[in-house]
Structure formats: C-alpha cells, structure tokens
Amino acid sequence: MGEQHGTREWLNARAAAWRKTAQLVPALRDRSRATLGEALDAVESYSALARDLATARQLAPRSRTTAGLETLYAQLHALISRKPPFGRSGLLSLLRERVPAAVVELRSRIVAIAALMAVSAVAGWCLIEAYPELIGLFASNAMIEQVEQGHLWTEGMINIIPSSILSISILANNIVVSVFAFCSGILFALGTFYLIALNGLLLGSAFAFVHQHGLAAALFKFIIAHGPVELSVICLAGAAGTAIGESLIRPDRGTRRDSFQACTARVTPILVVGAALLVGCGFIEGFISPDPRFGLPFRIAIGTSYWIFMLLLLSGRLFRRPLVSALEPPA
C-alpha cells in the first residue's frame, strides 16, 4: 500500500513535466533550429526524463507509462544529438577538408584503377585489331553499320534529341555508372574491378574499330571535351569502391561492419563531388561534343580546363581557407 502511495505521489509530481516534454519534442523536431532557451530546456528535460525512466523501470517495468517514457526518452535523445543543418559551412568543410582527405587516402588506388582502365583499353584495342569481327560483342549492329558507312554514331545526335534532354540522359547514365562502380565494391571490390575493366575494354575496342574505318580522329574530337573528367570521375568512383572492398577484406576497426561504415563515410564525399562534375560533363556532352560548329582547339581547351578545375576541386585548392597573418590584429 505504501509503495502504491509512493508511486502515485511520484506520478502526480512528475506528470506535469512529462506533459511539457511531450509537447516540446514534436515542436522542436519539426524545426531545424531552436533558441538557446529551448535547447537548454530540452537538455534539462532529457536529464529529468532519464531519472524518471530509471524510476519507472523499477516501479512499474511493464506499464504503458514506462513504455511511453521510453519512447519520449528515445525521441529526446535523437533530438539533442542532432547535428547542425548542412549549410554553407558544411559544404565548405566538405570541399576544404573531407574531399582532399579522401583523395589523399585513395591516391594509390586511383593510380591502380586508372592503370587497370588503361590496360583494359589497350587489351580492347589489341583484341579488335587482331579479331575485328569481335566488335559485335561490344557494339550494337546499328552502330557497326553506321561506322562501316563512314559515319560516327554520334553524328546528327542533336538533330534527333534536343541537347538539353540529351545532356540530362547522359549525365544520369554517367552518375549511375559511377555509383555502380562505387557500390559494387561491396563484392570485395570484384564488382568494381569488373566494371572498370569492362569500361576500359569498351573504350579501347571502340577506338580500334573506328580507327579501322578512319574515324579515330572524329571520335577523339567527340570525346576530348567531356571525356577526361568523365573517365577520371569513373576512376575515382572505382577507387572509392575498391576502398570499400578492402575495408571488408581487411577490416581496420572492430568488426567488418564498423570498418565498412567508417570507410564509406570517409570516401563518399569523392562520389558527391564526382556526381557534381558529371553534371558538367553531361552538359558538355549534350551541347558541345556533338555540335560540329565547335573546332578541335576549343574542345581541347574545354576538356583541359575542366580537368584542371576538377584537380583544383579535389585538392581543396579551389575553396582554400584564406590565410590570416599571425601578426594581423583581430577584427
């Protein structure tokens, strides 16, 4: 009887505080910012709720009140551990610190993946040079017929589909390829190796085939504006994918799952920047590459400057923090 009385007294004493907290949680959860007073209120409520929950677990472990307190405590825990909204500072931190750090971490892998792609391209070239009939494995009949008639499949592309639509479909396709190269790293990097090697093989075989029909220069002219960045981003995604694979083969944390999660968080910024770069590539490929009005020097200039832009972006130099002299008095 005494215990029941104590429980009732406790319930009566704390009920008002719970009601207040129950109203505070949804109000704060639906907003991205809170005032200092609200934040302090939330932290104080969290501490008080923790004490109440511990008491409730003792007094009435299987009651709905305890279940309700558990729910409220979990909601408040999620609320107070929320990170600040991803705004300008988050973006700058991504570009200044996280992307360059990921590039440094992946340096050797980027070189290895680029080498794999180059070797596969050479293999594709040699294969088609030696056995021209094998081009049927890599290209559609329509493409083969067009090249045999002396025309690239890219000719007249913008007369069929508007450049804007073409750009979007190309950039979407490229982003999907990059994401696949990244995600397939989960198969202990074998999926990534397969995708990169296949892309290299396709590139080499296509060049060999058009070379046999005297169109290699035309294909080079088509891809030079967008190709360097596009292929580089695919290699970057592949390098990130192999890092994921290695995190599963040789975990550097307690468990494979922890290692996988930590590695994904470290290398994903590269993929985000890569996707943004592929958007630019898509527009170049949709508007400039198929347009015969643009000459080779202009295309080379575009391709080179966009590639340099990519290097600056990945190295963090584009958004470098301004240097502040130690002697300069604070503002």
Binding site: Q4, T7, R8, L11, N12, R14, A15, A16, W18, R19, A22, R29, Y46, S47, A50, R51, L53, A54, L59, A60, P61, R62, S63, R64, T65, A67, G68, L69, E70, T71, L72, Y73, A74, Q75, H77, A78, S81, R82, K83, F86, G90, I161, P162, I165, I168, V179, F180, F182, C183, S184, I186, R257, F260, Q261, T264, A265, T268, P269, L271, V272
Partner: protein
C-alpha cells in the same frame, strides 16, 4: 512494436481474455544504446515486414505523385510526353525526378522519416539512437542501387532477414537503423500524466481503466461489462455502489463510474 508473443495480463486472466502486451524482455530485435545521462535507451528495430509496409506506402505515393505531374503537364499545360522534344524537360523529366529522388529528398527534409515510415510508425536513427546526418541519409540511399538488385529489393530483403538488427546494405553502409516509434505509448503517457493529478488511483489502476475506456467501443458489450465489473470490484471493494452495487450496474453506469474513478473519484487501491 513487436506484438509477436502473447502474455496474459493477470487482471484480465480470470475472464479468459488475452491481451497483447509489449514485453521488452521478449524479443531479440532490440538495441540498447547508452544515453548521454548514463540511462540506456531501448530501440525496437523494424523487421522486414514493417520495412516492406512502409516502402509500399512510399512507392505508391511517389508513383501517384509522378503520375499526377504527368497528368498535370499533359492535360493542364498541354505539354508533349514525347522524350525527344523540349517539352520533356517539364513533363517527363520532373516526373522521373519525383520518382527517383523521393526517398533521399524526403528523408533529408524530414530527418529520417517519410510519409510511409510515419504511417508505419518507423523512423531512421543512427546506431547511437541519434538523428542521422545528411551524409548518412545520402549513403543509405546510394546503396539502394545494390539493395534493389536483381529486382523487387531482393538483396535488401534477404539482407534484412539474415543481418543483425534487420538492416539492409544501405543501413550498414550509413550506420543507420530503422526503428519503431510507439506513438500509442507516447499518447498514453500524455493521457495518463494529464489525469494523474486528479486521480487517487494507483498507476496500475489508472492504466487499466484508461485502456479499458480507450477500447470500450471495440469490445463486445458482454465482455466489456464483465471486465468493468471485475475491475471495479478490484479497485473499490467497498465502493460507493455497495457490496451488490457493481453487479447491479448497467453498462452506462459502469462506464460513468470508471470515468469518475479516473478523474478523481475515491478508490481503495
């Protein structure tokens, strides 16, 4: 909330009525996380069924939204639905965008929830029980590409069945969990705390009456009358109605008496 096992509530057992009660000790699908205060919090992990339920609601929603856009574009703005025309920029591409970007965009805006998850009572949290960051939500959605292979989210579903904490590959990569949020318990807490000041009942009694009144309409008249009588006999053996009073009361009187007890009437227990 896992309602997978039955437990007979001792108060109702004599009436032969079994009631589903959530018991924290019953299931393995729980994660205990250390709170900042040192008091653990318990997260109830959603299983493949709950996930699929939420996903199906969201899938229908995004499909309907995309179709609505197409309909609007074609019927109201007279835009062509041919992908090889400029009109596709305003008709087909936004619809595809709505369909494909629904999950990442809504999850980021609503901080780990979507309308489907809300309806299914689910939300995404980090493995520490916190609100997931934008990066974690993006990673989670990137890996949908793998989880959806080869079709109908087969990889993701199989992964949910076999993995600890019932997570798909996207959740493993992002360090997130899909947990159940017991909205009913939170509402019940609010109600109990609202009436606690007026009532002189014990916590058990308060909750029992509150639940019975909450379910009153859904119970068969004979059953609810029997439960109410049993409850009143336990809570006020020498109550206002006297020794034979409770047995003589009709349904309306029983309900009124329960209301009175809940809101401040006398009770022995």
């Amino acid at each position: 909330m896992n309602w997978c096992k039955l437990r007979i509530w001792s108060h109702f057992a004599p009436l032969g009525r079994t009631i589903l009660v959530y018991d924290a000790a019953m299931t393995d699908d729980q994660v205990r996380v250390q709170g900042a205060t040192g008091v653990d919090l318990t997260l109830h992990v959603a299983g493949p069924g709950n996930r699929s339920y939420a996903f199906l609601i969201d899938w229908h929603l995004r499909l309907l939204l995309a179709l609505a856009w197409l309909l609007l574009a074609a019927a109201l703005f007279k835009l062509s639905l041919n992908l090889k025309t400029h009109d596709a920029l305003l008709s087909i591409l936004p619809a595809i965008g709505i369909y494909l970007l629904y999950h990442p965009v809504i999850e980021i805006v609503l901080r780990g929830r979507t309308p489907g998850k809300r309806m299914a009572g689910l939300r995404i949290v980090t493995r520490q029980g916190g609100t997931p960051s934008v990066g974690a939500l993006l990673i989670r959605n990137l890996f949908r590409l793998v989880d959806s292979l080869p079709a109908f989210y087969a990889v993701g579903l199989i992964c949910c069945f076999v993995s600890a904490n019932r997570v798909r590959i996207g959740d493993m990569a992002a360090g997130t969990l899909l947990v159940m949020e017991d909205g009913g318990a939170a509402k019940s807490l609010e109600r109990v705390s609202a009436i606690a000041n007026n009532s002189r009942l014990s916590l058990d009694g308060l909750e029992l009456i509150d639940q019975l009144l909450e379910r009153w309409e859904s119970l068969a008249p004979s059953k609810r009358k029997a439960i109410a009588q049993s409850l009143l006999e336990r809570l006020e053996p020498r109550g206002a109605a006297g020794e034979t009073g409770v047995a003589a009361m009709d349904e309306a009187q029983l309900r009124t008496r329960l209301h009175q007890l809940l809101h401040g009437g006398e009770a022995a227990a």
